[in-house]
């Protein structure tokens, strides 16, 4: 009984002394695969965007356009996916590829900054007008790349397995004609079992 009471006292004291560990910080590989949740994470974002861009480049269809822009990728999932990462990853891959002769022109996402800069140069009265970029000279995009991310969640009959399927769908349109010149989709499925 004495032992029991002693254990009880020590245990109570331990409760108040525990949990004082300090955190450690380290660098990790940004490309390391994170398989811990079914969420669409940064690895997935970049991987599907780069993969679709590569397929588009290999199709040779981008060279049918003199210039192109990329619309913001739409997120139709129920997850907080920052699809601007996908839009930027596609822009990076297409514009840096030596196999793509088409010129990337400002997208709707970047338009406000472009307008602000033109207004600053032309309307603020601060600049030598012989050196400013003139309004009305921007190149219109002949083609537009359009992307959409969707998801579908299903739960196994035992309630312990959740399967989330993601589809990244990309189309390239001729802006003037409204005709699709390339379409493709890529699927990723992630399962979580408790």
């Amino acid at each position: 009984m004495k032992t029991k009471l002693l254990q009880l006292s020590l245990l109570s004291a331990t409760v108040f002394l525990g949990g004082c560990a300090s955190p450690t910080i380290s660098y990790v590989d940004p490309n390391a695969v994170n398989n811990l949740t079914t969420n669409f994470n940064q690895n997935d974002l970049r991987a599907v965007a780069q993969d679709m861009s590569m397929q588009l480049i290999q199709s040779g269809k981008m060279n049918k356009c003199k210039s192109y822009t990329i619309s913001p990728v739409k997120n139709s999932t129920d997850q907080y996916v920052d699809t601007s990462v996908m839009t930027n990853a596609m822009a990076d891959k297409l514009s840096n590829s030596s196999a793509v002769n088409s010129t990337y022109v400002v997208s709707t996402q970047e338009m406000q900054n472009q307008v602000d800069e033109l207004e600053r140069q032309n309307q603020s009265g601060l600049y030598d007008q012989s050196t400013t970029a003139k309004t009305g000279k921007m190149k219109g995009a002949q083609c537009r790349v359009d992307g959409k991310l969707t998801s579908d969640t299903s739960v196994g009959p035992d309630g312990k397995t959740t399967l989330v399927s993601y589809t990244f769908f990309v189309q390239v349109f001729d802006v003037q004609q409204g005709a699709a010149i390339w379409r493709n989709s890529k699927n990723i499925s992630k399962a979580k079992t408790y």
Partner: protein
Amino acid sequence: MKLFQNLILTTAAISLCSCASNPFSSYKSTSDTTLHKIYSGQLPMAMEAESTSDPLYNMEYGSLLRMDQNYSQSNYYFSLAQQSMDVWANSWMSTTGGQLSNTALSMLVNDNATEYQPRGYERSFVTTYHALNHLDLNNWQNARVEIKRMYQIEQATENYNQALYNQEAQEFQKVKQDSQQNYLSTQILKKYNFTDINTPQVLALKNSYQNAFSHYLAGFVFEALNEPSLSRPGYVKAGQLNPNNTLIQQSIDNIDSNTRSKKGTTDLLIVEEIGHAPQIKSEEVHVPINLNFSASQNNQQSCINMIDVFYPRLIMDQMNTTPYAFSLDNTNYNPMLMVDVNLMVARSIRDQTPHIIARNVAAAVRNIATSQAACTAGNNGGSLGTILSLGASLGGMLLDRADERTWTLLPSKIYINRVNNLAYGEHKITVNLNGVPHIQTITLNQPYQIVTFRVIGSQIIFNLQRGSV
């Protein structure tokens, strides 16, 4: 023998001094005092300023300062509360094997004596109110940071809950395998009052930690910042958590059709909060038992025929139970329910029931052993019986009682309305409270704005965006 008596008393004293949460005091009484001061209009004096790492104090005091429109100081206390949660969250963000130690320890000591672990919904609400403070300071980028933190915390909570459920299932399995513990758990369950926590409304909640308001606010903030890919899931998640609110689907449709307020007009989000979240009172129930069937195996009669069981009972806010209709520039609006915090608290307690039962069984086993020893020693005429009785009662105080701690200054319900295309300039909101109209002038000068008001007792408190008033 004196040594053991001193040891017990010293341990109790350490408990009292070292823990912000005093295991002997009732948190219900503490929050009663705070609420009475708020009801009587003594807002700044309702709580004393303290410097502590206790997340519950920091959440409560942060809420009080927000009601007092002291947003910067409120954020300071919310940040302190978040600091203690960050360590926890980091251990659960992307794993299912984080910190569970406190839960294991609370099986053996009074829950009130352990460091307060905010409930899942409280973790989400801290970031949400932190974001609302930033919006009231007209700092949308900082609000965005808190919104992101909100859904990251939810991910951590999901992983934590899963691990906790697994552990509780194992705990309960162990109880079932031991004949005495199995008998005790059956007797305890017979007397456990499930009235508050087993209602159809409680069971209809998707879970206890996600709330539609936090996600709707996320959608609104991302929409204002022109980030539709993040705004849409905010509204979608809000719709999943509250399928009855028609405003949510309308917001999703607006995102899909890229509909925004016209130039020179404001899209105004009006948030109405009422009352306070339920308090928790430790309810004591005497459960009759008969252990002689097992004691007889040791040729020893049990002198215990009753155990005390403690479970948390919800005390709902009775003063503010229904929403208050309001008008904006003489147009009447009916607030639309977004979150019922009462239900979330009930669901949270319901999810904890296996742990509460297992803890009561552990306490009963411990008390039975100590009381039986005291009984036997007393029958033999020694002083050991007295000492053991003292140890049992003091140990019981430390080890028993349901956890009464909960974030009480959260509202009991949150309602929203949204009004589009309001011209820039002054507008009047009129809230009718007990027949008395309360008029607040607001100035609109941005494409997206938010106005929050809270009715608590007979007080009405408006939170307006700085820079817009």
